[in-house]
């Protein structure tokens, strides 16, 4: 990217990101999106692209690609174990960006990098934004970066027209929800339940009120995640949210079938099943 492109006025002309276009399309077609999370590098960095392509075949609309971290305080056991395996397999921010570059030769799938703060801090915000944009990523979400501390990161990302997605939860008050939305682009990620990532039996009763509250604070698309793993959950959120995020359910498949050559197809088939749940209900 040239120096001229990295200053503010030019950035405003860079146009909609792949993520924004994906939500515009979903909205035009009156569909709900599936955002599929996988931990990069599990079972090995070499297989990450193949797994993303499987999710694309299964109908996932956006990929969240997780950078594994040694101390994932927001994650439940399934993603903790996935992170351990990915780190043992040599996954780093660099290998994640390499996977994205490889993916871009074969797919225009919208892709969000999902990470804890420290690996990105160590890589450097400016360098990360530069390299992520060059690799073909469309944005990032940093789980443990709260809006109070986010300014230098957001500035670096915006210069390269990368989306910054922030999280909001049931404990987030309306005023803070509006602040989170105003710092976010692409979409706002709503955390459906208390606790950490990982499949739950039933949808938390706090999920729908949170979506309704967030609607009043922002016009950005709303995705809901944490605890969602099956078709019934998709059916339950489809009338309300613009997209559902599923992570641990996919990583459980990777954990069980990591050695399997057909792993990509297994992910595709789970994605298809979840998509059916999202398609079955008309929006409210």
């Amino acid at each position: 990217m040239s120096a001229a492109a990295s200053i503010e006025p030019a950035a405003a002309n860079l146009g909609a990101t792949r993520i924004e276009r994906a939500f515009a399309r979903l909205q035009a077609e009156r569909r709900r999106g599936l955002i599929a999370y996988i931990t990069a590098g599990d079972p090995s960095p070499a297989r990450t692209v193949e797994l993303i392509l499987g999710l694309e075949r299964g109908g996932a609309d956006i990929i969240e690609l997780g950078v594994p971290f040694s101390d994932p305080i927001a994650d439940g056991p399934v993603i903790q174990r996935a992170s351990d395996r990915a780190l043992k397999a040599g996954t780093t921010v660099k290998t994640v960006l390499r996977s994205i570059r490889d993916l871009r030769r074969r797919s225009a799938m919208p892709l969000l990098v999902f990470s804890y703060l420290n690996p990105i801090l160590r890589y450097g915000f400016e360098r990360f934004a530069e390299d992520a944009a060059a690799a073909g990523a469309d944005g990032a979400l940093l789980t443990d970066l709260n809006i109070e501390e986010a300014e230098p990161y957001v500035a670096a990302m915006r210069k390269r027209n990368l989306d910054c997605v922030f999280l909001a939860s049931q404990t987030t008050g309306d005023k803070r929800l509006a602040e989170i939305a105003s710092l976010s682009s692409g979409f706002v990620y709503l955390v459906s339940t208390a606790g950490v990532t990982g499949a739950r039996e039933t949808l938390s009763s706090s999920a729908l009120p949170l979506i309704q509250r967030a609607r009043r604070q922002t016009n950005l698309p709303l995705a809901i995640g944490f605890g969602l793993s099956k078709r019934e959950h998709m059916q339950a959120v489809a009338p309300y949210a613009d997209a559902a995020v599923v992570g641990s359910a996919f990583m459980r498949v990777v954990e069980r079938h990591g050695e399997d050559a057909g792993l990509g197809e297994r992910l595709a088939s789970l994605a298809r099943d979840l998509k059916q749940g999202l398609a079955a209900v008309s929006r409210k």
């Binding site: 971290f69 040694s70 101390d71 994932p72 305080i73 927001a74 439940g76 056991p77 903790q80 351990d84 780190l87 780093t92 921010v93 660099k94 703060l117 420290n118 690996p119 990105i120 801090l121 160590r122 890589y123 789980t143 443990d144 970066l145 709260n146 109070e148 501390e149 922030f166 999280l167 909001a168 939860s169 049931q170 404990t171 987030t172 008050g173 803070r176 989170i180 955390v191 208390a194 606790g195 950490v196």
Partner: protein, 411 residues
Amino acid sequence: MTSSVSPLSTDLAARKLPDSLGRFGAYGGRYVPEILVEPLDRLEAFYREAKDDPDFQAEMRELLRQFAGRATPLYHAKRLSEHLGGAAIYLKREDLLHTGAHKINNCLGQAILARRMGKSRIIAETGAGQHGVAAATVCALFGFPCTVYMGLEDMRRQALNVFRMRLLGAEVAGVDTGSRTLKDAISEAMRDWAANFETTHYLLGSALGPHPYPLMVRDFQSVIGVEARAQYLAISNGKPPDLLIACVGGGSNAIGLFHPFLGDESVRMVGVEAGGRGAGLGDHAARFTGGLPGVLQGTRSYVLQDDDGQIAPTHSVSAGLDYASVGPEHAWLRDRGRVAYTSCSDGDAIAAARMLSRLEGIIPALESAHAVAEAVKRAPGAQGQTFIVNLSGRGDKDIGIFRENMPELDA
């Protein structure tokens, strides 16, 4: 008492921090899953209200006196001082507190706060088990159900403390992830809190983690420095000590001793980290020599990490110092040059523990032995000076490790 220094510390910059976002300069702050922001705001609001409430202060004072056994002595270690032939060494005897270490100061404060907040359950993390025992103790006293998270490796190393916590009625939840030590116990406690914040108070044990913990824990531990300062000024005609020494894991005993002296410009301070078994990454817990600024478990501070920003493994013979990051206020005091930080090897700590045991009849905790070792290094040649060493805990819990390292005594 005539005093050449003001009765209360007046370093304005020091007393104002942290700022409203919990920052100490570039350090501290809050880096947590969004769901915890509101519970942390609530905790801060309750803490600020309690702190200025005379009822809270009176209850705290009474419990510290009648239950924990405060004030602790400031003891002149004459035989050790004479042996080293230089500085006069005073020991702040936190080891004499109930449960055997300074940790009880913070636990009592947070337990009163938890009750004021209407919480019905307490969770805590522990490394060596000292904070876990103190937490289990105050939970018994207040009638809170208590779950203490502890790495399986630490449970193995500190089996006696595991039993002690259970005897006190706490549930000890083994953590089988990562390095199975303190860091992993903190992560697991944070996950529990993220799920159960409505009913549960997280009793964090050091001046670490997201705001307001570094502020609150420092304030609860400042009783150490406030007492030591008054005790010393009373015997020195108001002349302050020359040097304060404390070990630094998360850094709660050190900040508790140092903070009330920050306004006394002539008082030098040194924090002693775990030098472990060598200088290689993974062999020590010396964050200020081997670490870089980063974010771990809710706060920005110096962090031992690899080139990819993954948290590095640590080692120390003392489980209480065996942590990859350090309290953010220490990072700020270090960058500002107000406090010097150094490290002490496993071997030097064990030797210092042995020296103190033989010369003074005081068996220190391995953590505190790191501070004693620094005094042993600095005292010779420091004639006319006074050192105050924070003897933050007693060594009963470490007898097994001492035995392994002193086979000649077991013959």
